[in-house]
Amino acid sequence: MASDEARITVALSGNPNAGKTTIFNNLTGGRQHVGNWPGVTVEKKEGAARYGSHEFEVVDLPGTYSLTAYSLEEIIVRDFVILENPDLVVDIVDASNIERNLYLTTQLMELGVHVVVALNMMDVASARGINIDVDLLSELLGVPVVPTVGLRNKGTEELKEAIMSTVKGEARSRGIQVNYGKEVEEEISKLEREIERDERVSDEILGNYSSRWLAVKLLEEDEKVEEDVLKYSEPESPLLRQLEASRNHLFTIFSEDIETVIVDNRYGFVAGVVREAVEREFEEPVTLSDRIDRILTNRILGFPFFALFMWLMFFLTFYLGKFPMNWLNHLMRELGNFINTVVSSPAWLRSLLVNGVVGGVGSVLVFLPQIFIIFICISILEDTGYMARAAFIMDRVMHWLGLHGKAFIPLLMGFGCNVPAVMATRTLESDKDRMITILVNPLMSCTARLPVYALFTAAFFAANQGTVTFSLYLLGIILAVAMAKLFRRFLFPGESEPFVMELPPYRLPTFKGTFIHMWERGSMFLRKAGTVILAGSVVIWMLSYLPPGVKYGSPASIAGKIGHVIEPLVKPLGFDWRAAVALLFGFVAKEIVVSTYGALLGVGESRALISSGLHQFFTPLTAYGFMAFTLIYTPCLATVAVIKKETGSWKWTAFAIGYSLALAWIVAFVIYRVGLLFGLGR
């Protein structure tokens, strides 16, 4: 303990957001300077505080929840307390979250340093009906406890007084040690003895660490401590032999790693202290979010509500979308007419602009309003907090599949775009879960498929556009579920761990937030139209126009010849060579399926003409089969690239392409053949 005259160093520690900086400012006033911790960019604040005639240095340590060696902040705090050996550590505890905050306190006490607890935010705790018996808490912890309200500078003088009396040795401040139970304590004692007997370890290390702390950390397999000990202890030394024997012995008893046993005991100790010293006047109030959740996350009602919201989303997309879509369609037609009037020759240039550019890109662009509306709906569902609930209620299904509940998040994201959805699988810890989720993700119907559905449903299912589209989304989900189950069973066997979810409260979405999300995603579609789809459309135009002299888009054109080569593969599904060409180019981006028809039919100036043109090659049955094929077959080029990047394997990338192609063919075949059996061929 420092003498009155010596410079006293006080370190401030605490959980993030416990009010540490406020207490630091209250203690030091303006007398502080800011720098960085050596070698890192974590801010270091130091200042001077005065109490009566005494002055002491205060060091603000980074906020941390524990003293393991996992994060930079934890290592900084631990190293400072051990190596700089401050005279005292003031642990700032958020009284309104006392149970979590006291975990760090137990670890500080374990280090063997002098601790004073500043029980901060007492006003917040009182407002929440949390009453803390400060004296009893102090007795249970074995360290002084001072209630403070940092924001109102309450308790600062009392804290300074406690610091001084502790430094002078007038108050007990080493803290009570957590008891880890008979078996663990016995091994700790054995290790302590060996640590003290090992001359090099006790000479080089024990000046900094207490032997008990060192023993506990060695049992916990703390990498940093182990590294220090291995540096000084001889291989095969009695200490290292004892360590191995203790670990093995405890593993035999508990059948799990000893760190878990130790951490569990620390939490148990904290829970016991809280039970004794903390009283809650009233239960947590039932919020509006809780009431809504009783219905929307209900085991039975949750699913129909989820289906209803999804159906509503597609209904609104098509119902509201048709008005601006008609205006855009009119605009495209006028643009085609204008080009026809202005560009009279050469004929190839007129054909390129009208059939290639307007026909190709325009036929996709007219679906922009629907894309924006579906993104608005998704944004609203996310901003209100409903999507998190959807993931929650789907967990049961996910577990049935052997997949992690968390996997539903990237799957839901796939409704927007499969590229970020595949990337989002990084949140899954298990490689097997990740691989399954990546493989089935392209079955979730992304918005790039929407123009295809919109075109074909308008042409063949005008009265039930929303419902037919909903059925395709549902088909994608069902297939994803089935394939996940198969992959889990045959390719990636194993179990998923249970899932706990923190649900955000329901919120009213803001216009600005919804608009930004809609624009962020919708603008990607616009960018794609101006790049990939434009390039694809020009290529298809060339293939339909060449060789010179043939009728545009005829079987004699290059596109026609390519189509005829592939046609035998799609003929059993009821598709012709045009569908083969459209699907072939749709591999680049699914929207190109639509622009291919726009270009092939040479009717770029009118969506209505494309629709009527489609009636020459499709029946409602084959149109539905074609939409299903588009949904399932080979993911687009960008998704394939991201699958390769995320799996790091050409084998699995090829598998993703191959299985989806085979599945698409089988599903379209079944739809067509079963439809024919039921007389739906016309």
Partner: protein
């Protein structure tokens, strides 16, 4: 504590919210979160935080909230 938590999760027979679990084991939500984070690190369960969902909503790396995490973990963006 951990055995009690794992038992409650098992007994729930499906997914469980942090709030509900905190009520069942009689712990503070924030303290329970700390325990669950530890158990998650040990591979015993998985915890999805409220903010986590909101991070997964972008269409390209340029606007992706995960970008920092990806760069830190050495996995650069894919698009």
């Amino acid at each position: 504590m951990f055995d009690e938590i794992m038992d409650e999760i098992k007994n729930a027979g499906g997914p469980i919210t942090l709030k509900e679990l905190a009520m069942r084991v009689g712990a503070e939500e924030s303290a329970l979160e700390g325990m669950l984070e530890f158990l998650e690190k040990k591979g015993r369960l998985s915890l999805v935080r409220a903010g986590e969902w909101e991070q997964c909503r972008v269409t390209s790396c340029e606007v992706c909230a995960f970008r920092k995490c990806c760069l830190e973990s050495g996995k650069e963006g894919a698009t």
